[in-house]
Symmetry: C2
Amino acid sequence: MTEQTTVAPLSSLSPAELEAFLASQRTAYTDLQNRGLKLDLTRGKPSAEQLDLCNELLSLPKGHKDASGTDVRNYGGLSGLPELRAMFADLLWVEPEQVIAGGNSSLTMMHDCLVQLLLHGGPDSPRPWSQEETVKFVCPVPGYDRHFTMLASYGIEMVPVAMHEDGPDMAAVRELVKDPSVKGIWVVPTYANPSGAVCSQEVASELASMETAAPDFRIFWDNAYAFHHLTEDEAKSADIITLASGSGHPNRPLMFASTSKITFAGAGVAFFAASKANVDWYLGHQQFASIGPDKVNQLRHIQFFGSADGVREHMARHRAILAPKFAAVDDALTSALSGRDVATWSKPSGGYFVNLDVLDGTASRVVELAKGAGIALTPAGASYPHGNDPDDRNIRLAPSFPVLDEVETAMAGVATCVLLAAAEKLSGTQG
Amino acid sequence: MTEQTTVAPLSSLSPAELEAFLASQRTAYTDLQNRGLKLDLTRGKPSAEQLDLCNELLSLPKGHKDASGTDVRNYGGLSGLPELRAMFADLLWVEPEQVIAGGNSSLTMMHDCLVQLLLHGGPDSPRPWSQEETVKFVCPVPGYDRHFTMLASYGIEMVPVAMHEDGPDMAAVRELVKDPSVKGIWVVPTYANPSGAVCSQEVASELASMETAAPDFRIFWDNAYAFHHLTEDEAKSADIITLASGSGHPNRPLMFASTSKITFAGAGVAFFAASKANVDWYLGHQQFASIGPDKVNQLRHIQFFGSADGVREHMARHRAILAPKFAAVDDALTSALSGRDVATWSKPSGGYFVNLDVLDGTASRVVELAKGAGIALTPAGASYPHGNDPDDRNIRLAPSFPVLDEVETAMAGVATCVLLAAAEKLSGTQG
């Protein structure tokens, strides 16, 4: 194990040194396998400890009427309860009438929007998107796999662009939107999945104001992690709706958010926010599909939070649980990989993911090795359209769900897999 | 008021008698207006008293795990909780694996199916329905307005057929389905909205087995009132899924149900049941739109009901509240209209509606008169595609929401409006 005291880039090792290193990592990996682990870093799910923060919801609401006297148990109220809309309008910097409080899934609201764009088009579409010969979306990568699979399911072409630390690569975006078949872009503006990037005011402003060949270009602004800070330096999401309105494209952004990672992941409330014309458009179609959302659950959330500040205070309690796990990821990777020049990783100040880039061509192997040692990772390439990472480099780590101990154990294991895969690659051997 | 002692068909009155009758009804109507009523018989909403039956739900669930140990607070489980699926499989006479427990709205599940048929087609579609030149649906009338408005919103042509006491007019249906562009039919099989008709085994069997030109013909079997009996003579819904499977068309029926009129109208659980191929098809698309339904609410329902028998017992409590209201409707109409030959109405043994047919050409006037007296009725024609009742005859009465007193008052008022409109019509005067 002498090579662990000489921390040199793997690529700088002599063939003999590399062979010794490979042998040592094989031993380490065998040890890892022998531990019989069963750990899961695949999905951005809140942990039981986080969910416990909200157990009061299980016995709410008290009573069955909201402040206006509406019996929340009955039908109706397609836009959601006014108090909850106002609370999240405050948090999202929009007007209450621009916010719809819906069911338990913002993904469903995104899907609703996409389906209606396909079948009817938007307020400024020349025709339904399904009648276009080709529809393309700009997809910042790495990105959220469910965005990509949704587009793929409708045959929408995905054009990847790089996601930088301040948002999508705007030089690339500017070029792409000259094509009238490019109808939209996905953006996770705050603590992006998986890179943790925060879209800057400048990038947001350019997204809002740029000329696009398609008159009905849409920014699917999935602000899933708007309030999900990991440090006291809280990023503020750019106000895309005001920016777009101010630059003459009020209907361009469709904003989504939810309490899925604030209260209960599967039983929260989702929000849609947009221009008045888009809100009318959304409700105009939604009225045929629903008599209204679950208002009992909305009242539950109103009573649980109390106010927008209540949401902010609640998020600090999530941070206290999550921040040590993210620190553990960074510690494990730093301790094992520092100086080896075989991986880089993000140090997010919010959100649910760490983005790990390993030696080109080894991401799939790392995931395979981890699986062999009982550590489930998201499939390599999952953060790319069609699961295709052309460099086979990217791995999304989701440390929120396991307890801290398990995160530490799992990440030490992942680091071993990264080193072993890199050594295999550099030495031209495998398995 | 002497004419009220001589109960003769209005059409048999002499001109002088009719004039006197008209005058007396105008007086009665003025009296009605002077009462300053504000009553609403428009929608099939449960009353506060019915909703109170389920207030225990407001402080459920106890704990946060289902019988299998799943933490219902977290993401996942697109098919819904197994226990709840099994409970409603029992009630709907299907296998648990044929049932999906979803969100709070069966209308949304119908819409999901329609949208996927449009964008992808079904398991046996030659192409997506949106790529067909024309798509037509057979619409039994009178029927449920939200079925029709959903079809209209996607430009689907609606072909009305008569709804008889045993289901849709099969002679007409048989002819229509020879047209390959006829892709489906809506059926509310049990206590139909609004006629209260119950689809017989024979009609169901023919719907399931008939030859259709479209290989992907679909029966949207909206069993919204499957358990909603008003008498002890409980109608059994025909088992459309087994019938269709047995006759070689397993994918034809799509069954929908919900607890919207069992627990909380806006916060219940909806169900989709169909062949295995259809369930796979549904989930295969739904996976792109949702990470799973609100399982906390599903656990709440499991604990509240306890078992399928718990659901049946609970429905008896609804019946105790609803049956007197339906009796009040019948009493008011019988007392005022009997022998006048200006109206017929249904005496449903279940469901949420009374179907009132008035003198041809007077339904709109009756609704207008009622509105003028503070009694809100569903717009005339609402039970027809595009709101167009060619005979202007049909009015849907929904007596569930108001308290019993109000139902009695409102229905006496409606009867006055029916008589006044008929007298106006027969005497060739109005207003």
